[in-house]
Symmetry: C5
Subunit: 362 residues, 5 copies
């Protein structure tokens, strides 16, 4: 049997971590320090107007606050906590929110404050080595601004930005609540992609199981799939609650006409969730299938052994009889004794073959 | 063991898809383009009046709107999204509804708008190769019209149309809400048929398991059945919620006298759902049964091996003893040594037989 | 292994059926046509008065309607749908109710109408061949009448009738609501009997499992028991909902003093339900037990094989050595070579025995 | 394998029974007739006053009714139903309550009447042969009296009586509601004892499993434990509902200050319930453990067989070669042929040993 | 197989205990008597003021009661119940609370009284021998004081005390409700640590399973992990309810601004809970994996046996044939008979090898 080439299971990513022994509200980054500079990507738009620029200077973001346009500030990089605190204080974000923004293992949730919402959610994607990775994102939604925070610059919102710029879709004419919806919609779209990728992995594994070729890694692949399902659920299930909450919130921040869109979003996230549950059940079923496959193979091995042994052990015994050296063994001196014996052995041979045939082992 | 002839599992159909990276509300067809022309099948009726005709011209549908009769517009073919948009805009359907009409993997649901309901549901049937296929349908129910959308022309509503035409049943004298009920009733009837077909498959599989004949495909058949159950539930469970919702809606669209029918419908869909759950449990039970069947067979194989080996190995040993060439082996020179040995061997033979008999292995 | 004598599993009875492709409200009988004549068994009573007679003439039932007494009309035989319709129209029963009366696979339920209740329920019993059969019953409860419908004449209500006639119990002095309670009470009593019968079957099966005797039918018996449990639940669980509903209904039909009895009935049906759940769990436990029993037996078989083979294969090898024909084999010429070898073989024999003893395989 | 010494499983005790075919409200005792005389144990107390005496005369109990003290009447023996009816009628108990008092398999429940509560509960204990037995108890709680009914005289309330007599605890100064609480508290204490006993049984079984010694009864012991858990739950779960109900009842019978105690009681019964669930899960885990233990043992058996057979079968073959009688077999005539062969055999022997060592089978 | 070195499973710690047969409200310590002296650690602080001292004299605690500062009294050691009663009576704690303080197996809960809350919770940690231990804590939260009770002096609150002393964090300027939050926050932080430790144990076990090395203790380690999970849930799940309750309480004790912190706490405890559920599922998955691993190994063992036996048993038979002593066996006298036979045997040998190769057993 070949040596194991298994990749290390990614259990470490599931365990909960938290900036320990710190006073609640302390802003301490818990992720991997991938970006040292905080980059801002600011979009300011209204029905007629569209402006976009990037900067590393937090202060520049404050200029747009008073404009009557919708302002979307996307913050890349959470490791420079001073910048986060500066920004947070300017927008009067509660210390607990500032803490949650940089606590990368925070569970998806929605917090309602008087003047704004705070939403935490997760972006999932399969990296190049087909490992599922999860990115921590958060979003503050105010009257005429949306601030999103992400760990590292990604291309998640590229498509949405383009729609904003080129005026495609409804998004330009509507308020910050519609922008919030559009962002969450992009996240749920992302989940659909992840689930589709997962479905391919499940299908491949199933095909492997149906093949006769043996692969001792299948157990581990199933276990890894189970873990991925668990991690996807960890992102999807709480977001479902968040969207459900959004649907029910009575707030002046959310306009009547946006409600239909949020309900639509809720339908989609329920659909993702259902698919995840279905794959979960299928993967557990795979384990059962694998067990029966192993048992079937063992059955087959046992049959070969039983047939070979049951046929040749009696024959060997017959040969052993006439290899004895007794002085008086009349058969040894028969003219055709040897041939008689062969006849008997052939009879036994086919008799047993017929027996196994009747038992349907052949 | 014979080569695998298994059909490819239909996992691909379970995975969620969605027109990706499009602005919400964009009307983009996601199904297979089976019909390129949008066909309309219009029925206009009242207690005394019945008219039916087919057309490819969307505009013709608009003539019937103002009549005081009930108008049922059935739209076949969703791939020509321009037609859908034209129709949708004419009836002032919300963009999200127009999107859902052509998004063939949309989950069953009900959306209530001020002037109409929008209901998504699924038609299931087993095709000629006994594969379960699912068709996306949706329905808009207004004051005096019902519009149904289906991917391809089917004969689902044929029976209902005939009842309308020949005035059988109550349907002609009642409003659009009763027509909606009659359509959903046809859908639930369809589920009964599907579940009946499924029950036959389960029964056949069970009979196969009870037969002794070996069939390595059984695991896969069980897995396929599990998937079918999952897919049926995916259509039935949300529709149950839809009908439950219908029962509770307070709307002028639904008349008092129709409520009894909707409750009846709810009873039926619960009955479908219960049957599905029962088959689900039975299929999981089949897997367990199959495992014990395999184990029982292995037990039997092992017994044959053990009996054969345990009887003939000692006998061979006895023969081996007297095949040795020691100079001094007194037994070899006994007058009846050979016969004594045969006696001993026969004794051992029957002794072991008796032992296995007592152990109830024979 | 003996040939299979298994009775055919009764799956067919679980599958849902429905008079297909008929307009809702169409009265079409779906059961087996056991009685062609509709028999009426009419009881008319008050505190002082008791009258009972049987007839095949539907019209006769109408005479009793106006009396101030309580009238109980028991209808035997549902196949003559014209009679049902006549009766139904006379008592102004809704078409859906008339349909449900003859739809023998209708799920237990309660429908509340303005002037009467409609209750569907199931009678269960084990027939002579120990097969669980289920009978469809329904009941209309009005101000001063109760109409019960059953597929074939049974002796279910015999005891109740006798109590009515001989004035035993409270039933004569109370209204139609108490009669309804008494009928449902008889049904729940019937469930207790069925569960008791089931408990005996489970116990017998358990004893079989604890015996060493092998029985390849055990898997199938367990599977059959699982199905019976599923079918009993199908009757009991919805009836529990019905009684729960009865408890909460605010209707002039149900008098205050009857409420205590209905609550008592609810306690009983919950108790039946709990017992069913307990047996369900026990049966699933039996499957596990059976699996370990098989494994234990296989273990024992393997041990016998291993002990026999491990002892005699080395001995045969030793004998084989001295059966060789080399010219120079000094041991063969030893004076006591043969005896030395026997000594060695006996040593090996007991050494291995001791080894297996220490391993606790003997 | 030793013969079975298993005690008969106690399934019979789980099955529901009911006085069948009797009019509801008929008082018919369903338990085992252990006591033929109804014994009364009457305690009459107030803060300053305490009186206790025993009698067989029901009438004597009525004297205490009018005193302003709290009266606790404990009834031992339910088989003499006339006494129960006399007592019940005197205290104006509803016929259904009188029926429930003597129906020993009645499920724990609470019934609220205008002037009193009626509570059914179960006492559990392990008898001398470590079988779990269950005793039916019921209690009527009125304004200034409590009546408890038990099947046979037990020592359950001995401790409570002593506390009443010696004025320990709060109980003397408070009303009948506190007495009711104190009685239920004694019952829950009893459950703690039972669960502790159960925990010891589970632990012992676990230790047995971890030992190598084989014990074919383990499956049955696990099954028996499962049944005991089921029976304990049957007593505990409904009582939890009862206490929960007590907490929420708005009645003049329950004083404000007693509420804290009832909440405390509720905490305790939840704790019992949680422990039961934990043991339940542990016992199901034991079954899995046992399966792996069996499989591990089989694996070990197989390895011994494989090693012995794989080493000696090839060696026997080698010896067999040189036991042939061909005229021309040059090796037989080699000077050191015999020794060469021994060398080769030793080589094969150690080669295979090394192979199995590398496979970690040794 | 090596002898068992397993540590005793810690089942005893799961079983519920309770000071039995005592009047409710009796203060009797149920834990292990680790400290005989009751130590008080008193902190008195306001925004400007901070004072801390330790004492064994209960009376000294009463001096601080009237100060307008917040007073935190930490009581170490519960075995001296007189002290607890003295303290309890001084602060007018209900007898049931005094009982719960010293009942070390009390389930986490919150009791609301008019002037104070009473909260029970558990501290978990892995001791030096990696055994999970649980410590009983309770807390009384009044207007301007908090009293915490712990079994033995631990360093749980060391960090919090330091933050208080050095004025770090918000804690000094806020009321007793914030102190309560800070204490519960430390507890939840502690759970994160425990879950992280657990995650490492699960990961190590998983790695062990993926290694080929055999370890018969794995079943027991899995069982132990299951128990640890059960015990962690027993502490976490009720605390979740407690915090949820805290969120909803309407009390003057909890200020508006503290609510945000309590919600944050709730998010964290949900996160702990989710992680625990995930590990739970993973551990159950490990058991399945282990089963397939065992089966796979058995399969491999069987194959080796089958290959060895199937190849050499027929060859031995062939050699056995020509070891017979018939007078007339022409082959024995062939010139190259011996070589022909070798040829045949080599053919058989490679033929079987090829067969097993084709079956992919090699």
């Amino acid at each position: 049997m070949a040596a194991r080439r298994r990749k290390k299971p990614q259990t470490t990513k599931i365990q909960p971590k938290r900036a320990k022994n710190l006073s609640p509200g302390t802003v301490a980054y818990t992720g991997k320090k991938t970006t040292t500079v905080t980059e801002l990507d600011i979009i300011d738009y209204s029905k007629e107007h569209f402006q976009r620029f990037e900067t590393n200077n937090i202060q520049e973001a404050f200029n747009y606050e008073d404009s009557t346009n919708i302002t979307w500030i996307n913050v890349n990089g959470l490791s420079n906590t001073d910048d986060i605190v500066t920004l947070g204080n300017h927008f009067e974000l509660h210390p607990l929110i500032q803490e949650d923004i940089v606590t990368t293992n925070q569970r998806p949730k929605i917090d309602e404050y008087e003047d704004y919402f705070f939403i935490v959610f997760k972006m999932l994607h399969y990296d190049d080595s087909e490992q599922l990775t999860s990115e921590h994102l958060s979003m503050v939604v105010g009257k005429d601004y949306v601030i999103t925070f992400q760990e590292a610059e990604g291309d998640i919102f590229g498509d949405l930005r383009e729609r904003l710029e080129h005026g495609k879709g409804r998004v330009r004419g509507l308020g910050s609540d519609y922008l919030m919806f559009a962002i969450l919609d992009a996240v749920v779209d992302n989940y659909f992609t992840v689930v589709e990728f997962l479905s391919n992995k499940v299908e491949l594994l199933e095909d492997k199981l149906f093949d006769d070729k043996e692969d001792p890694d299948i157990t581990e692949e199933i276990q890894d799939l189970k873990k991925e399902i668990l991690r996807i659920r960890k992102a999807v299930v709480p977001l479902r609650e968040v969207v459900n909450r959004l649907e029910k919130i009575e707030s002046t921040l959310i306009e009547e006409r946006t409600n239909k869109y949020i309900r639509d979003l809720y339908d989609h996230i329920i659909q993702v969730n259902e698919s995840v549950e279905i794959y979960r059940e299928m993967i557990w079923g795979l384990m059962d299938m694998y067990m029966t496959t192993i048992s079937n193979k063992m059955n087959e091995v046992m049959k070969v052994l039983t047939i070979m042994a049951s046929i040749f052990i009696p024959l060997t015994f017959m040969a052993g009889i006439y290899g004895m050296n007794f002085d008086h063994m009349p058969e040894l001196h028969f003219r055709y004794g040897y041939y008689y014996l062969w006849g008997a052995m052939i009879l036994v041979f086919f008799g047993l073959l017929w027996y196994f045939k009747r038992k349907k082992w052949l």
